[in-house]
Subunit: 221 residues, 2 copies
Protein backbone atom coordinates (compact mmCIF):
# COMPACT_ATOMS: atom_id res chain seq x y z
CA UNK A 1 0.00 0.00 0.00
CA UNK A 2 1.04 3.61 -0.44
CA UNK A 3 -0.45 7.07 -0.61
CA UNK A 4 -1.97 7.33 -4.03
CA UNK A 5 -3.66 9.72 -6.43
CA UNK A 6 -6.32 11.82 -4.73
CA UNK A 7 -4.61 11.63 -1.32
CA UNK A 8 -3.32 14.75 0.43
CA UNK A 9 0.42 14.60 1.12
CA UNK A 10 0.77 14.69 4.93
CA UNK A 11 2.33 17.94 6.17
CA UNK A 12 5.46 16.33 7.64
CA UNK A 13 8.38 18.27 9.06
CA UNK A 14 11.50 17.44 7.08
CA UNK A 15 15.23 18.09 7.22
CA UNK A 16 16.68 19.31 3.98
CA UNK A 17 20.02 19.81 2.30
CA UNK A 18 19.62 22.73 -0.10
CA UNK A 19 21.81 23.16 -3.18
CA UNK A 20 25.44 22.24 -3.56
CA UNK A 21 27.16 25.62 -3.43
CA UNK A 22 27.27 25.86 0.35
CA UNK A 23 26.37 23.65 3.28
CA UNK A 24 22.95 24.68 4.48
CA UNK A 25 20.52 22.54 6.47
CA UNK A 26 16.93 23.62 6.85
CA UNK A 27 13.85 22.29 8.59
CA UNK A 28 10.42 22.96 7.23
CA UNK A 29 7.12 21.26 6.54
CA UNK A 30 6.15 19.81 3.18
CA UNK A 31 3.15 22.13 2.71
CA UNK A 32 5.38 25.14 3.47
CA UNK A 33 7.63 23.98 0.68
CA UNK A 34 4.80 23.31 -1.78
CA UNK A 35 3.26 26.77 -1.11
CA UNK A 36 0.32 25.88 -3.36
CA UNK A 37 2.51 25.35 -6.40
CA UNK A 38 2.63 22.21 -8.48
CA UNK A 39 5.46 20.13 -6.98
CA UNK A 40 7.28 16.95 -7.97
CA UNK A 41 8.32 14.81 -5.01
CA UNK A 42 10.57 11.88 -5.82
CA UNK A 43 12.21 9.17 -3.75
CA UNK A 44 15.54 7.45 -4.20
CA UNK A 45 16.61 4.08 -2.84
CA UNK A 46 20.08 5.32 -1.81
CA UNK A 47 22.84 7.89 -2.28
CA UNK A 48 25.96 6.82 -4.22
CA UNK A 49 24.11 4.24 -6.31
CA UNK A 50 24.16 4.30 -10.09
CA UNK A 51 20.54 4.76 -11.22
CA UNK A 52 19.75 7.30 -8.48
CA UNK A 53 22.74 9.42 -9.47
CA UNK A 54 21.64 9.56 -13.13
CA UNK A 55 18.12 10.50 -12.02
CA UNK A 56 19.37 13.21 -9.66
CA UNK A 57 21.37 14.71 -12.51
CA UNK A 58 18.53 14.49 -15.07
CA UNK A 59 16.11 16.17 -12.67
CA UNK A 60 18.67 18.97 -12.31
CA UNK A 61 19.09 19.20 -16.10
CA UNK A 62 15.30 19.48 -16.54
CA UNK A 63 14.87 22.04 -13.74
CA UNK A 64 14.46 24.97 -16.21
CA UNK A 65 11.58 23.01 -17.85
CA UNK A 66 9.90 22.61 -14.47
CA UNK A 67 10.50 26.22 -13.43
CA UNK A 68 9.01 27.44 -16.73
CA UNK A 69 5.84 25.59 -15.71
CA UNK A 70 5.87 26.94 -12.12
CA UNK A 71 6.69 23.48 -10.77
CA UNK A 72 8.91 22.89 -7.71
CA UNK A 73 11.10 19.84 -7.23
CA UNK A 74 11.86 18.03 -3.97
CA UNK A 75 14.04 14.91 -3.70
CA UNK A 76 14.00 12.39 -0.85
CA UNK A 77 16.39 9.70 0.25
CA UNK A 78 17.01 7.86 3.50
CA UNK A 79 20.64 8.89 3.76
CA UNK A 80 21.57 11.76 6.05
CA UNK A 81 22.25 15.38 5.18
CA UNK A 82 26.05 14.89 5.29
CA UNK A 83 25.76 12.06 2.79
CA UNK A 84 23.60 14.21 0.48
CA UNK A 85 26.20 16.99 0.70
CA UNK A 86 28.86 14.67 -0.70
CA UNK A 87 26.58 12.85 -3.12
CA UNK A 88 25.21 15.85 -5.00
CA UNK A 89 28.69 16.55 -6.37
CA UNK A 90 28.54 13.36 -8.44
CA UNK A 91 25.77 13.99 -11.04
CA UNK A 92 26.87 15.65 -14.25
CA UNK A 93 24.43 18.49 -13.76
CA UNK A 94 24.59 20.77 -10.70
CA UNK A 95 21.84 19.91 -8.21
CA UNK A 96 20.24 23.08 -6.82
CA UNK A 97 16.92 21.68 -5.60
CA UNK A 98 16.61 20.40 -2.02
CA UNK A 99 16.87 16.76 -0.96
CA UNK A 100 15.11 15.61 2.19
CA UNK A 101 17.16 13.42 4.54
CA UNK A 102 15.29 10.55 6.19
CA UNK A 103 17.88 8.42 8.01
CA UNK A 104 15.30 7.18 10.55
CA UNK A 105 12.82 6.11 7.82
CA UNK A 106 10.13 8.25 9.47
CA UNK A 107 9.05 9.88 6.22
CA UNK A 108 9.03 6.86 3.94
CA UNK A 109 6.98 4.99 6.55
CA UNK A 110 4.48 7.84 6.94
CA UNK A 111 4.24 8.28 3.17
CA UNK A 112 4.14 4.46 2.83
CA UNK A 113 6.92 4.53 0.25
CA UNK A 114 8.91 1.60 1.67
CA UNK A 115 10.20 -0.80 -0.99
CA UNK A 116 8.76 -4.20 -0.08
CA UNK A 117 11.89 -6.11 -1.15
CA UNK A 118 15.00 -3.95 -0.97
CA UNK A 119 17.13 -3.50 2.15
CA UNK A 120 20.47 -1.72 2.55
CA UNK A 121 23.61 -3.60 3.67
CA UNK A 122 22.67 -3.02 7.35
CA UNK A 123 19.17 -4.44 6.81
CA UNK A 124 17.44 -1.04 6.90
CA UNK A 125 14.37 -0.41 4.77
CA UNK A 126 14.75 1.54 1.53
CA UNK A 127 12.25 3.66 -0.38
CA UNK A 128 10.92 2.62 -3.77
CA UNK A 129 11.62 4.75 -6.83
CA UNK A 130 8.35 6.66 -6.43
CA UNK A 131 7.55 10.01 -8.05
CA UNK A 132 4.37 11.91 -7.30
CA UNK A 133 3.11 15.03 -9.03
CA UNK A 134 1.41 17.11 -6.32
CA UNK A 135 -1.19 19.74 -7.27
CA UNK A 136 -1.62 23.23 -5.81
CA UNK A 137 -4.13 21.68 -3.34
CA UNK A 138 -1.37 19.43 -1.83
CA UNK A 139 -3.05 16.35 -3.34
CA UNK A 140 -1.32 13.73 -5.44
CA UNK A 141 -2.46 14.02 -9.05
CA UNK A 142 -0.32 11.33 -10.72
CA UNK A 143 2.17 8.69 -9.56
CA UNK A 144 5.00 6.74 -11.10
CA UNK A 145 6.16 3.77 -9.00
CA UNK A 146 9.29 2.23 -10.47
CA UNK A 147 11.47 -0.44 -8.92
CA UNK A 148 15.17 0.04 -8.12
CA UNK A 149 16.25 -1.47 -11.48
CA UNK A 150 14.39 1.01 -13.70
CA UNK A 151 15.35 4.67 -13.86
CA UNK A 152 12.50 7.07 -14.52
CA UNK A 153 11.88 8.88 -17.81
CA UNK A 154 11.87 12.59 -17.11
CA UNK A 155 10.40 13.32 -20.56
CA UNK A 156 7.27 11.43 -19.48
CA UNK A 157 7.15 13.47 -16.27
CA UNK A 158 7.17 16.71 -18.31
CA UNK A 159 4.53 15.34 -20.72
CA UNK A 160 2.26 14.34 -17.82
CA UNK A 161 2.71 17.77 -16.19
CA UNK A 162 1.67 19.50 -19.40
CA UNK A 163 -1.44 17.32 -19.55
CA UNK A 164 -2.33 17.92 -15.88
CA UNK A 165 -1.85 21.67 -16.10
CA UNK A 166 -3.87 22.01 -19.34
CA UNK A 167 -6.73 19.91 -18.02
CA UNK A 168 -6.81 21.85 -14.74
CA UNK A 169 -7.36 25.05 -16.76
CA UNK A 170 -9.78 23.83 -19.45
CA UNK A 171 -12.41 21.06 -19.56
CA UNK A 172 -10.16 18.89 -21.68
CA UNK A 173 -8.18 15.68 -21.27
CA UNK A 174 -5.26 14.23 -23.23
CA UNK A 175 -5.56 11.07 -25.32
CA UNK A 176 -3.11 8.14 -25.15
CA UNK A 177 0.43 9.10 -26.28
CA UNK A 178 -0.53 12.80 -26.42
CA UNK A 179 2.30 15.29 -26.68
CA UNK A 180 2.19 19.11 -26.45
CA UNK A 181 0.73 20.59 -29.64
CA UNK A 182 -1.47 17.54 -30.36
CA UNK A 183 -5.25 17.98 -30.17
CA UNK A 184 -6.90 17.25 -26.83
CA UNK A 185 -10.31 15.71 -26.14
CA UNK A 186 -13.26 17.54 -24.60
CA UNK A 187 -14.50 16.12 -21.27
CA UNK A 188 -17.74 14.08 -21.47
CA UNK A 189 -19.39 16.36 -18.88
CA UNK A 190 -19.39 19.21 -21.42
CA UNK A 191 -22.41 19.28 -23.78
CA UNK A 192 -21.97 20.20 -27.44
CA UNK A 193 -23.72 23.50 -26.79
CA UNK A 194 -21.35 24.32 -23.93
CA UNK A 195 -18.37 23.18 -26.01
CA UNK A 196 -19.26 25.65 -28.75
CA UNK A 197 -19.03 28.53 -26.28
CA UNK A 198 -16.09 27.14 -24.34
CA UNK A 199 -13.93 26.42 -27.39
CA UNK A 200 -14.52 29.23 -29.93
CA UNK A 201 -11.62 27.78 -31.95
CA UNK A 202 -14.02 24.91 -32.76
CA UNK A 203 -13.89 21.15 -32.23
CA UNK A 204 -14.19 18.04 -34.35
CA UNK A 205 -16.38 15.10 -33.42
CA UNK A 206 -14.99 11.79 -34.60
CA UNK A 207 -17.48 9.43 -36.29
CA UNK A 208 -17.51 6.14 -34.40
CA UNK A 209 -19.03 2.71 -35.20
CA UNK A 210 -21.14 2.92 -32.01
CA UNK A 211 -22.80 6.06 -33.39
CA UNK A 212 -22.04 7.87 -30.12
CA UNK A 213 -20.44 11.31 -30.33
CA UNK A 214 -18.16 11.32 -27.28
CA UNK A 215 -14.81 11.66 -29.07
CA UNK A 216 -14.43 15.40 -29.66
CA UNK A 217 -11.03 16.90 -30.42
CA UNK A 218 -9.98 20.51 -29.96
CA UNK A 219 -6.75 22.48 -29.65
CA UNK A 220 -6.00 24.73 -26.69
CA UNK A 221 -2.83 26.75 -26.11
CA UNK B 1 -4.07 3.29 -0.85
CA UNK B 2 -3.71 0.67 -3.54
CA UNK B 3 -1.81 -2.51 -4.24
CA UNK B 4 1.65 -1.43 -5.14
CA UNK B 5 5.01 -2.64 -6.42
CA UNK B 6 6.11 -5.83 -4.67
CA UNK B 7 2.53 -6.94 -3.93
CA UNK B 8 1.10 -10.16 -5.38
CA UNK B 9 -1.98 -9.54 -7.53
CA UNK B 10 -4.85 -11.39 -5.77
CA UNK B 11 -6.05 -14.41 -7.73
CA UNK B 12 -9.57 -13.07 -8.36
CA UNK B 13 -12.14 -14.78 -10.54
CA UNK B 14 -13.10 -12.45 -13.36
CA UNK B 15 -15.62 -12.26 -16.19
CA UNK B 16 -14.11 -11.43 -19.52
CA UNK B 17 -15.12 -10.32 -22.97
CA UNK B 18 -12.57 -11.74 -25.39
CA UNK B 19 -11.85 -10.15 -28.75
CA UNK B 20 -14.33 -8.40 -31.03
CA UNK B 21 -14.84 -10.96 -33.79
CA UNK B 22 -17.49 -12.95 -31.93
CA UNK B 23 -19.37 -12.68 -28.67
CA UNK B 24 -17.65 -14.87 -26.15
CA UNK B 25 -17.80 -14.53 -22.37
CA UNK B 26 -15.35 -16.40 -20.21
CA UNK B 27 -14.72 -16.78 -16.51
CA UNK B 28 -11.25 -17.45 -15.18
CA UNK B 29 -8.88 -16.38 -12.46
CA UNK B 30 -6.23 -13.74 -12.89
CA UNK B 31 -3.32 -16.13 -12.19
CA UNK B 32 -4.72 -18.58 -14.77
CA UNK B 33 -4.60 -15.76 -17.28
CA UNK B 34 -1.08 -14.61 -16.31
CA UNK B 35 0.25 -18.20 -16.55
CA UNK B 36 3.64 -17.00 -15.29
CA UNK B 37 4.13 -14.62 -18.19
CA UNK B 38 4.80 -10.91 -17.87
CA UNK B 39 1.36 -9.25 -18.02
CA UNK B 40 0.10 -5.68 -18.29
CA UNK B 41 -3.12 -5.05 -16.39
CA UNK B 42 -4.75 -1.69 -16.98
CA UNK B 43 -7.89 -0.03 -15.68
CA UNK B 44 -10.25 2.36 -17.42
CA UNK B 45 -12.66 4.80 -15.79
CA UNK B 46 -15.49 4.00 -18.24
CA UNK B 47 -16.52 2.63 -21.66
CA UNK B 48 -17.55 5.15 -24.34
CA UNK B 49 -15.40 7.94 -22.92
CA UNK B 50 -12.79 9.73 -25.03
CA UNK B 51 -9.43 9.11 -23.35
CA UNK B 52 -10.23 5.46 -22.56
CA UNK B 53 -11.11 4.78 -26.18
CA UNK B 54 -7.82 6.20 -27.45
CA UNK B 55 -5.95 4.10 -24.87
CA UNK B 56 -7.84 0.93 -25.76
CA UNK B 57 -6.92 1.45 -29.41
CA UNK B 58 -3.27 2.28 -28.71
CA UNK B 59 -2.90 -0.85 -26.56
CA UNK B 60 -4.29 -2.83 -29.49
CA UNK B 61 -1.91 -1.11 -31.92
CA UNK B 62 1.07 -1.96 -29.67
CA UNK B 63 -0.02 -5.57 -29.11
CA UNK B 64 2.61 -6.96 -31.55
CA UNK B 65 5.30 -5.15 -29.50
CA UNK B 66 4.03 -6.78 -26.32
CA UNK B 67 3.69 -10.23 -27.92
CA UNK B 68 7.25 -10.00 -29.25
CA UNK B 69 8.35 -9.61 -25.62
CA UNK B 70 6.13 -12.46 -24.37
CA UNK B 71 3.87 -10.00 -22.56
CA UNK B 72 0.10 -10.49 -22.14
CA UNK B 73 -2.41 -7.66 -21.94
CA UNK B 74 -5.58 -7.54 -19.83
CA UNK B 75 -7.93 -4.54 -19.70
CA UNK B 76 -10.43 -3.77 -16.92
CA UNK B 77 -13.43 -1.51 -16.69
CA UNK B 78 -16.50 -1.38 -14.49
CA UNK B 79 -18.95 -1.60 -17.36
CA UNK B 80 -20.56 -4.94 -18.16
CA UNK B 81 -19.65 -7.45 -20.85
CA UNK B 82 -22.44 -6.27 -23.19
CA UNK B 83 -21.12 -2.71 -22.98
CA UNK B 84 -17.57 -3.90 -23.76
CA UNK B 85 -18.93 -5.81 -26.77
CA UNK B 86 -20.27 -2.56 -28.24
CA UNK B 87 -17.42 -0.36 -27.08
CA UNK B 88 -14.52 -2.29 -28.59
CA UNK B 89 -15.82 -1.48 -32.08
CA UNK B 90 -14.97 2.20 -31.54
CA UNK B 91 -11.14 2.31 -31.32
CA UNK B 92 -9.31 2.68 -34.62
CA UNK B 93 -7.35 -0.51 -34.03
CA UNK B 94 -9.11 -3.87 -33.59
CA UNK B 95 -9.10 -4.95 -29.93
CA UNK B 96 -8.27 -8.64 -29.59
CA UNK B 97 -7.13 -8.75 -25.96
CA UNK B 98 -9.68 -9.46 -23.21
CA UNK B 99 -11.37 -6.83 -21.07
CA UNK B 100 -12.61 -7.74 -17.61
CA UNK B 101 -16.12 -6.57 -16.72
CA UNK B 102 -16.58 -5.33 -13.16
CA UNK B 103 -20.10 -3.84 -12.94
CA UNK B 104 -20.36 -4.58 -9.21
CA UNK B 105 -16.99 -2.89 -8.44
CA UNK B 106 -15.82 -6.07 -6.69
CA UNK B 107 -12.48 -6.12 -8.48
CA UNK B 108 -11.53 -2.47 -8.25
CA UNK B 109 -12.33 -2.58 -4.54
CA UNK B 110 -10.27 -5.73 -3.96
CA UNK B 111 -7.40 -4.34 -6.02
CA UNK B 112 -7.91 -0.96 -4.31
CA UNK B 113 -8.04 0.83 -7.64
CA UNK B 114 -11.03 3.06 -6.85
CA UNK B 115 -10.59 6.65 -8.02
CA UNK B 116 -10.96 8.82 -4.89
CA UNK B 117 -12.80 11.62 -6.71
CA UNK B 118 -14.59 10.36 -9.81
CA UNK B 119 -18.11 8.93 -9.83
CA UNK B 120 -20.30 7.97 -12.78
CA UNK B 121 -23.65 9.68 -13.45
CA UNK B 122 -25.42 7.22 -11.10
CA UNK B 123 -22.95 7.94 -8.27
CA UNK B 124 -21.08 4.64 -8.68
CA UNK B 125 -17.36 4.46 -8.01
CA UNK B 126 -14.96 4.44 -10.94
CA UNK B 127 -11.45 3.02 -11.26
CA UNK B 128 -8.43 5.26 -11.64
CA UNK B 129 -6.33 5.08 -14.81
CA UNK B 130 -3.93 2.55 -13.25
CA UNK B 131 -1.54 0.32 -15.18
CA UNK B 132 0.56 -2.34 -13.49
CA UNK B 133 3.30 -4.44 -15.05
CA UNK B 134 3.05 -7.87 -13.42
CA UNK B 135 6.06 -10.21 -13.40
CA UNK B 136 6.09 -13.98 -14.00
CA UNK B 137 5.78 -14.39 -10.18
CA UNK B 138 2.36 -12.61 -10.21
CA UNK B 139 3.88 -9.64 -8.37
CA UNK B 140 3.58 -6.02 -9.43
CA UNK B 141 6.92 -4.77 -10.72
CA UNK B 142 6.01 -1.23 -11.80
CA UNK B 143 2.93 0.99 -11.62
CA UNK B 144 1.62 4.01 -13.47
CA UNK B 145 -1.26 5.77 -11.71
CA UNK B 146 -2.73 8.46 -13.94
CA UNK B 147 -5.89 10.46 -13.33
CA UNK B 148 -8.88 10.46 -15.68
CA UNK B 149 -7.63 13.60 -17.50
CA UNK B 150 -4.28 12.15 -18.60
CA UNK B 151 -4.02 9.34 -21.13
CA UNK B 152 -1.10 6.99 -20.66
CA UNK B 153 2.00 6.92 -22.87
CA UNK B 154 2.33 3.42 -24.28
CA UNK B 155 5.88 4.14 -25.47
CA UNK B 156 6.88 4.55 -21.82
CA UNK B 157 5.19 1.24 -20.98
CA UNK B 158 7.29 -0.51 -23.64
CA UNK B 159 10.48 1.24 -22.46
CA UNK B 160 9.82 0.20 -18.86
CA UNK B 161 9.12 -3.40 -19.94
CA UNK B 162 12.44 -3.55 -21.78
CA UNK B 163 14.21 -2.31 -18.65
CA UNK B 164 12.41 -4.78 -16.36
CA UNK B 165 13.04 -7.75 -18.63
CA UNK B 166 16.74 -6.93 -19.13
CA UNK B 167 17.34 -6.39 -15.44
CA UNK B 168 15.56 -9.63 -14.55
CA UNK B 169 18.05 -11.50 -16.80
CA UNK B 170 21.29 -9.68 -15.97
CA UNK B 171 22.58 -7.87 -12.88
CA UNK B 172 22.03 -4.51 -14.54
CA UNK B 173 19.69 -1.55 -14.13
CA UNK B 174 18.72 1.25 -16.50
CA UNK B 175 19.69 4.89 -15.88
CA UNK B 176 17.25 7.82 -16.09
CA UNK B 177 15.80 8.33 -19.60
CA UNK B 178 17.36 5.04 -20.81
CA UNK B 179 16.12 3.66 -24.11
CA UNK B 180 16.86 0.29 -25.74
CA UNK B 181 20.40 0.25 -27.15
CA UNK B 182 21.75 2.72 -24.56
CA UNK B 183 24.33 1.44 -22.04
CA UNK B 184 22.99 0.08 -18.76
CA UNK B 185 24.53 0.30 -15.28
CA UNK B 186 25.89 -2.63 -13.30
CA UNK B 187 24.13 -3.29 -9.98
CA UNK B 188 26.04 -2.16 -6.86
CA UNK B 189 25.89 -5.71 -5.41
CA UNK B 190 28.26 -6.91 -8.17
CA UNK B 191 31.99 -6.48 -7.37
CA UNK B 192 34.42 -5.39 -10.08
CA UNK B 193 35.91 -8.91 -10.11
CA UNK B 194 32.46 -10.46 -10.62
CA UNK B 195 31.60 -7.85 -13.24
CA UNK B 196 34.66 -8.80 -15.29
CA UNK B 197 33.42 -12.39 -15.51
CA UNK B 198 29.74 -11.50 -15.83
CA UNK B 199 30.21 -8.96 -18.62
CA UNK B 200 32.97 -10.26 -20.94
CA UNK B 201 32.08 -7.42 -23.33
CA UNK B 202 33.65 -5.11 -20.71
CA UNK B 203 32.38 -2.17 -18.70
CA UNK B 204 33.39 1.44 -18.14
CA UNK B 205 33.61 3.01 -14.70
CA UNK B 206 32.75 6.70 -14.70
CA UNK B 207 35.11 8.97 -12.74
CA UNK B 208 33.13 10.84 -10.11
CA UNK B 209 33.96 13.80 -7.84
CA UNK B 210 33.28 11.64 -4.77
CA UNK B 211 36.06 9.28 -5.88
CA UNK B 212 33.66 6.34 -5.52
CA UNK B 213 33.43 3.87 -8.39
CA UNK B 214 29.77 2.88 -8.35
CA UNK B 215 28.77 4.18 -11.79
CA UNK B 216 29.74 1.37 -14.17
CA UNK B 217 28.25 1.21 -17.66
CA UNK B 218 27.98 -1.85 -19.88
CA UNK B 219 25.98 -2.96 -22.90
CA UNK B 220 23.88 -6.14 -22.89
CA UNK B 221 21.76 -7.45 -25.75
Amino acid sequence: PGITIGDTVPNLEVEIKYGNSHFCVLNFTLHDYFKNSWTIIFFHPADFTPVCTTELGKMAAYLPEFEKRGVKVLGFSCDDVQSHEEWIKDPRCKVTYPIVADPNRKIIKQLNMVDPDKKDSSGNQLPSRALHIVGPDNKIKLSFLYPACTGRNINEVVRALDSLQKSSKYKVATPANWKPGDPMVICPSVTNEEAEKMFPQGFETQKLPSGKDYLRFTCVN
